[in-house]
């Protein structure tokens, strides 16, 4: 067999670049969406709230995160074996970008397929699916040895993602951009719930864990604390993700036995994620100064912390009585774009720093990158706290009853639960002077952070800045704790 080439720098750089561009597009759409809600300015038609929302989620997850994770995957696979079939990888990159571009244009033209996180038209779906198949083919051709944990996560995530993407978008086309799903009614709802959690699991969590399991031992010389748990985590997540979506059929018109089973699987899935995050944090705690001595290490630790916090929140909000209380209020565990924005973007931003700095041997401008991390951490914390508290207050207001009916009759009172502006204030003022305003502040902060991150990535590519230095593996506090004290 002829090996076409083994230089994958081009593919990796293309995916990194595309990941940065799509993330920038996503944050512009996301911020616009939040402003529309806050100012009471949804302005339907071409750029209405309902049009921008899918543009934001599609650009963020399938554009930003998938591209950054594919860049990381090639980086990890290159370390594990000789990469082959670069033209196929390049073709996959091209198909993916074409699919995404067609999908975004289609949504702008009103061809929304109506499935959350699966709004792209059938042509885009086929192109995107094909790009995943190309990636798997390149991986199969390149990897011959027994798989290590990071590559296993990457490969299983890609295969699980590809098949769940196909199953979640099975449809019969009837026009250039229209299609009819193969399922209807509550069965179709079950497919949508399956698909939603699969997108989070296979496209976000699997590559994130895979890359983290590679990065921390390789660049910080900290062996994963419990290798056996990593294998168990991979198998548990792989099996539990497709079963967990049914949890969100609870209290609906769908089969409730299935919903209960989904809740149990969902809680187990979140425990697997918590276990993985705890394993990583404990690994890092055995040599904290190594990781904190480097910018991408700081990003990774914060990213893992956010994954842990969100998994705990998801596990807590899954049982039926919790779904009844906080489901559908502002803190909404069905909204996986929050996880993508809060946790995944921090992890993948850190990983992207890692590859770019090592490839270009240039360090990111320290002030700029540190400011970006600070903004991301503060923003994510604000979003999590304000969103959770607002969700709880909203749920409490929604279920408060008097003899005459609901105690809070106005829907906007539920929407703005936790505001201090008073009932007579304008909607915008209610939004700003409340928890929703704090949430928005966090959102804006994360947005500015990602924009700053993109700027510093640009400076790395342009070869600006100081020479890159690997993490300091021999810091005094680890060698001699007493000296450090």
């Amino acid at each position: 067999m002829i090996k076409l080439t083994s230089d994958f720098r081009k593919v990796l750089s293309f995916h990194l670049g595309a990941g940065v561009i799509w993330t920038l597009i996503a944050i512009v759409f996301g911020l616009l969406n939040q402003l529309q809600l806050m100012l009471g300015w949804p302005q339907p038609d071409v750029l209405g709230y309902g049009v921008i929302r899918p543009l934001f989620t599609t650009s963020l997850i399938f554009g930003g995160i998938v591209n950054l994770s594919l860049a990381g995957s090639y980086y990890v696979m290159q370390k594990s074996g000789d990469l082959a079939w670069q033209p196929l990888a390049l073709a996959g990159f091209g198909l993916q970008q074409l699919g995404l571009l067609l999908g975004v244009i289609g949504i702008l033209l009103g061809a929304n397929k109506g499935r959350e996180y699966g709004e792209m038209n059938w042509v885009s779906d086929h192109l995107f699916f094909l790009s995943l198949v190309f990636f798997i083919a390149v991986a199969l051709r390149s990897l011959k040895k027994e798989l290590n944990a990071p590559v296993l996560f990457i490969l299983a995530g890609a295969a699980g993602g590809a098949i769940s993407f196909m199953l979640g978008n099975l449809a019969l086309p009837y026009s250039p951009m229209g299609e009819v799903p193969l399922t209807a009614g509550m069965k179709d709802q079950a497919v949508q719930e399956f698909y939603r959690i699969s997108v989070l699991g296979y496209f976000v969590l699997f590559p994130a864990f895979g890359l983290l399991y590679h990065f921390i031992p390789t660049h910080y010389k900290l062996p994963i604390y419990n290798e056996g748990a990593v294998r168990f985590q991979a198998l548990a997540m792989l099996a539990l993700i497709p079963l967990s979506g049914a949890a969100y059929l609870a209290y609906g018109a769908g089969p409730q036995m299935s919903a209960t089973f989904g809740i149990v699987c969902g809680i187990a899935l979140n425990f697997a994620v918590i276990m993985g995050a705890a394993n990583l944090l404990y690994t890092v705690s055995r040599g904290p100064s190594r990781v904190w001595s480097n910018l991408d290490g700081s990003y990774l630790v914060w990213g893992v912390r956010f994954i842990l916090i969100l998994a705990i929140l998801r596990a807590i909000s899954l049982p039926r009585f919790m779904q009844a209380d906080v489901g559908y209020t502002w803190w909404n565990s069905r909204d996986i774009s929050q996880d993508a924005l809060v946790a995944a973007s921090v992890v993948f931003a850190g990983l992207a720093y890692g590859y770019s700095q090592r490839f270009n041997q240039k360090a990111a401008a320290n002030t700029l990158a540190s400011a970006a991390l600070l903004l991301a951490v503060v923003g994510s914390c604000l979003m999590i706290v304000a969103g959770t508290v607002q969700g709880i207050l909203g749920g409490m207001s929604a279920r408060a009853m008097t003899e005459a009916g609901p105690a809070v009759t106005s829907f906007s009172a539920l929407l703005f639960a936790g505001n201090v502006a008073g009932d007579t204030a304008s909607p915008t003022l209610k939004f700003i002077l409340g928890l929703r305003g704090i949430y928005f502040l966090g959102y804006a902060s994360v947005t500015v952070s990602l924009a700053t991150w993109a700027l510093s990535m640009l400076s790395i590519w342009r070869g600006q800045g100081n020479p890159f230095q690997e993490a300091d593996l021999h810091l005094p506090d680890e060698e001699n704790p007493e000296e450090a004290r």
């Binding site: 499935r115 011959k144 009837y174 709802q189 399956f194 993700i241 299935s258 989904g262 009853m401």
Partner: protein, 218 residues
């Protein structure tokens, strides 16, 4: 556990194949098994199928992204039913049933409540009220600011040919519609706007349940 792990993930190819198999089995358990029995029994199945204008309205609903603010998943709690159903008028709690949605593809249960739940909007609003709401009122309140959809009532390009093809595909996918039904798309959509279609769809939400319960109590 380690034996299973070693068998499933012994090589790159077996990892890919096992992952695909695990997801397919999971899909079967979560999606196919619970819905394997025929759910079209019962009186609701005797009600007429959806109007073609309603099917078009369903399309307008998700193309405009209404599902990003409104859920259609009324839950069986007193406080929720009281909020979204006109209980005084109808005197019962019509919690949605799977049968009501048998013609709906894709499903529109939604995952947000930035706006109220719409499962039973037919019992709360009439056509004039919904039209006025969607056109955006003159008052400056949240409800009007969020619903400036007046342009939908100027757009009369409902593409009946595509809708008839869509209905044909729905038939292929097993949605219980009859063949002559899709041919009526041209006549039914004549002179209608996208706004009219959306109103027709919204007025269908909860309608079947009310019809059935009305017939039952009579």
């Amino acid at each position: 556990m380690s034996r299973i792990y070693e068998k499933l993930f012994s090589s790159p190819l077996s990892t890919v194949l096992s992952s695909i198999a695990i997801v397919i089995v999971g899909y079967g358990i979560a999606v196919c098994l619970p819905f394997s029995e025929n759910i079209s029994h019962g009186s609701l199945s005797q009600l007429s199928t959806e109007d073609t204008l309603v099917l078009k309205g369903h399309e307008v609903y998700y193309q405009e992204g209404c599902q990003y603010c409104h859920s259609q998943n009324l839950r069986p709690f007193g406080w929720e039913v009281s909020r979204y159903v006109n209980v005084e008028k109808y005197g019962y709690y019509p919690v949605p049933t799977a049968m009501e949605y048998s013609h709906e593809t894709p499903a529109m249960r939604g995952s947000f409540r930035i706006g109220p739940d719409l499962s039973r909007v037919a019992g709360k609003q009439d056509a004039a009220g919904l039209t006025s709401l969607l056109r955006g009122g003159k008052e400056d309140n949240l409800r009007n600011r969020y619903h400036a959809y007046g342009y939908l009532f100027n757009d009369d390009d409902l593409q009946p040919l595509f809708l008839s093809w869509k209905i044909r595909m729905m038939l292929e996918a097993g949605v219980p519609l009859s063949d002559p039904y899709h041919k009526s798309a041209f006549d039914r959509l004549e002179g209608q706007t996208r706004g009219d279609a959306l109103v027709a769809y919204l007025l269908s939400l909860g309608q079947k349940s009310m019809q059935y319960n009305g017939a039952f109590y009579r």
